[in-house]
Amino acid sequence: MSYAYLFKYIIIGDTGVGKSCLLLQFTDKRFQPVHDLTIGVEFGARMITIDNKLIKLQIWDTAGQEAFRSITRSYYRGAAGALLVYDITRRETFNHLTTWLEDARQHSNSNMVIMLIGNKSDLESRREVKKEEGDAFAREHGLIFMETSARTAANVEEAFINTAKEIYEKIQEGVFDINNEANGIKIGPQHSPSNASLPPGSQSSSPSSGCC
């Protein structure tokens, strides 16, 4: 299946906030209840549709543990989007956001789209960070924001797709140089920007199946 665009994402944030679970829910529609510490990075992929165009997402799920921080930094430069995740039941993961953001801004290209995610929204009873706080942080730093649950899948699709929409809009506005692969964007094999015709029968903004 050939795509119109390919976007590279990274997922960052403290250990245990649910990065790998978000990816797994998005690619395989499964939830993994035990914490399987990520070592280095792991790769995942899925096809989605935006504006009637097939978009391939290639996602690198990074390790949140301090020891892997320098390895994680190697992935900022080539990414078009980043999901910055904290855990709404653990305030310290929210407090660390500034450090993550500094790191990301320093090493990524300036157009990288960052989506702030407050994960584990299903654990309302153990909430330590109010939704308004996430909202405020996002507004202050110019990020998009959503609360998600990798367990119930609430907002998981939306988080990945809205990030892609934002990138897509930036491309339309001409902000991204799509010919520079270092931006984390590739044009599909059969698509040149002038000839981005629609694949017949595809629906707007609905995710296609995971396998491709």
Binding site: K8, G40, V41, E42, F43, G44, A45, K56, Q58, W60, S70, I71, R73, S74, Y75, R77, G78, H107, E181, P189, C212
Partner: protein, 687 residues
Amino acid sequence: MTSTLLDDRRDACRALKALSKKYRLEVGAYGMDAIRTVLAGDRPDSEIVGYALDTLANICSPQVFTEEERPELGHECLLHVGEQFTEIFLKQSDGVSLVLSFLEEYDFKVRWPALKLLSALATNRLRDIQEIILVSPMGVSKLMDLLGDSREVVRNDTLLLLIQLTKGNANIQKIVAFENAFDRLFDIITEEGYSDGGIIVEDCLLLMLNLLRNNTSNQNFFKEGSYIQKLGPMFDLPQESNEDALWSPQKVSNIHCVLQVVRALVSPGSPGQVTLTCQYLLMAAGIVQALCRILMASGVPVDVLTEAICTVGESIRGNSANQEFFSTVLAPFTPPKEAIVVLLMSMVNEKQPFVLRCAVVYCFQCYLFKNETIQAQLVQTLLPSTTEVSNVTCGQLLCSGLFSHDSVSNWFSSVCLSHALIENPVQKEQLLRVLLAATAGNPPVSLLHQASLLLQQCGKVQSKVGLLMLLSTWLSHCPMAVKQFLSIPTAIPYLTTQAGSNERDENEELVQGLCAFLMGICVLFNNDSVASYTKENLRHLIGNRVGRENFVSKLSEVSRHEQYSKAAKQPQPRAANSEELLLDHEFCKLFKALEGMIIKAVTSSDGGPGGGGSGVVARYKDLIRDQDRRLAETQATVLRLQQEGAALESRLEEAAAHVARLTDENMLLRAQVGSCFNVYLFTIDKT
């Protein structure tokens, strides 16, 4: 060198570089610090930086220069000079980052020696350099940028350095892949003409191999990025017009490498899901088909052919769609033959190279792996059938291999047949029906009987080991086969003698151990239908004739054999020479699964208690004795009922077997009558 004038320092540096091969020790010992100062301070002057980097590259070089050889210094003591200077250089912090930063300089005079220096450092201290590069910001990215350098030397040396750096380091492998390595590599490969390209194509494939081998994340990335399809043109081989040109040494290396890349994607060691998807994609991309064409083409060099056979094997292993496809592949003969038959013909042919025969065995195992249909098809070719078969079949080839005088063929054929039975109770019973025509005048003998006789008669360890593995696989979990085996008059006496023997020779001990294992299987899966060898009788026999401890120690000879751990590691039989070919991977799995159960079944004894004690203890002992007695009575009843049940069951089985035999005979007779009838009609016609 410490002169304040740049010009003077530049001259000094040039001089140092000139001396750095011949007087490497001196230059390194006295000049290292000064050179570092130049690197840190004179960055804008590319000429002086170039000299400094060149000098360092020479000092740290892992090779011994002819210029530096001196009679008073042995060659030995020059060998480690580069390594020692590397160590000194690495002690100073941020030395490597400094060198990495010079990669960003476009000037050839700077970039190239920086690359050479990194390569020397990596050769001497790979782990250290890998760690440093991982923590230096954009370390890998900087190298990746150099792959696009239009100057070929730079590009090629970058490639070589990346091959070094990705060795055994999953983190670097993933970053390199993230930095679009696969795109870059395929760009180069396409530009250079795929498998017809030069050594640069081979280097690209080597890097690809490093990125993929044992790296699930990158394998996922590779398949998701549609790179498998891009491998396709590598296998476009022109028609055999000029074979010498077709198989230049470089082409052989290129194909060999790309085959390994494919194998890295479908390696039996990877998680099943990745392997399965990659297998489908290889088929969809036409690569499995292309590989089969290589298998059947003429003039293909043996090492390419061998690797291609293994690659086909792993591309179909455990994937029923691909296995079925393979069963339909035909070799271009007149009349066409099935490819798998042609391969087996090479396997049982002594004149074929040993490595090739090993590859075929592996491919055949992959073909049968977890596929009941294909297993059944193979056994079917051995059974009496109604349809006239004029072509030679897999079954016939394996039988001829089984009874050949060549022990390697015996081993291969035994193992292949055993793979048709793995986890397949139906085929174990089907194979019992196979009858072999004996010498003229004698009634036909069952395959099982014939194999047991062969075991007793043949003198070669390899053949015996093969047959014992076949019999063990066959009898395991199959009481009917055990029963037929126990009915062979000489079978158990032979095993008892072997297992009880004290001959000390490494390989004889293996045979003895396997005999003990087979006996153990006869105990475990015994339904007590052969009166002289019931479970209990066999246990007594082992106790009396072999000795329980001896039996257990004989068993342990198998897992202690050096070939056991080798075979247990991976499914592909890997033997440097034919003598090493002893144990099969799947058999090792069976052994591991059953060994404990056998020991328990054989040693759990009815041995009595011992020792005395005080009053209370004595009372309890009485109580226990009483309970024991009642327990024994109950057990005896259970046993009697079980035996009665088993006897009934076996009568039923006998009847079923009888019916099956009658059906076969009936079919045979019908076929004969049919042909007589035809002749009859024919004669009538004539008259």
